[in-house]
Symmetry: C2
Subunit: 159 residues, 2 copies
């Protein structure tokens, strides 16, 4: 028999193999820890948290720890330009509110989350768990995670 | 002769093919148009430009149109918290200044640019052209471009 090493039959091109591998990656494999603040926290607190945690997106939760909104660096920059007292302005006034918040789940495909980021022109999505009470925030997936995924696909694992 | 359709010899696994394809992509294939401001423009002007152009990173140039610095959304948010008059504060006071600015060239590999974004924890890099006079800004490459690259690698071309 002729040696088969190095030969394989797939009916697919290299590009298709690439696509197949990529398409199977889930959000769970690349998600980061979510950074949350409470609805009644001030915009000033939100900005402080954003710098302290060095993230671009904060998730806003209510007293029951359920997702009610999202604030981005852009939202905070816009608010800081207004001549308001940031320490007495609650973050829920300036946040993007449910149901207008784009979300994803940990078992979603990474590519679907990436497409949402591009379409909605946002930097990050909350990874949520649907419970009878509402949405619990279990992670965050951002353009930084997508950039890491790209680098790791090339074989340079950095995690 | 036996049909060769669907067979190919590479001596490589699917993952290696993936890595090879990825490694050959250059910055030029994914770069966006750069948004620049002048050194003496105010921080207020910079924030306005950032919202108008909807970008996360602005490149700062001198009178000869050469790169002298970079300002991020984070830099502008930090500045806006200080109690200064943003309209009279020149952007070159708060920018990250050359030679501390991470840069790339259009023929660089996209993966090297992606690694720089991760290592330096920044959202975008200027794509520059080295001239005898200094660095001309010819493009911008960001985590958004990396996210698009990831989606397009899966075969969902959106450009």
């Amino acid at each position: 028999a002729r040696p088969r090493v190095g030969y394989f039959f797939t009916g697919k091109t290299g590009n298709e193999l690439l696509a197949d591998k990529l398409k199977k990656i889930t959000v769970a494999e690349y998600q980061s820890i979510p950074i949350v603040i409470k609805e009644n926290d001030s915009v000033y607190d939100a900005i402080s948290t954003m710098f302290l945690e060095d993230v671009g997106t904060l998730f806003v939760i209510d007293e029951a720890a359920l997702l009610t909104g999202v604030v981005s660096r852009k939202d905070l920059l816009r608010a800081s330009l207004g001549n308001q007292d940031l320490a007495s302005l609650p973050v829920n006034i300036i946040m993007t509110r449910m149901p207008n918040v784009a979300i994803c789940k940990k078992d979603d495909y990474l590519l679907d989350a990436a497409s949402k980021l591009i379409e909605k022109q946002i930097d990050g999505l909350p990874v949520v768990d649907q419970t009878p009470e509402g949405l619990q925030v279990v992670g965050r997936i951002t353009k930084s995670n997508m950039t890491k995924a790209l680098v790791e696909l090339a074989g340079n694992r950095r995690r």
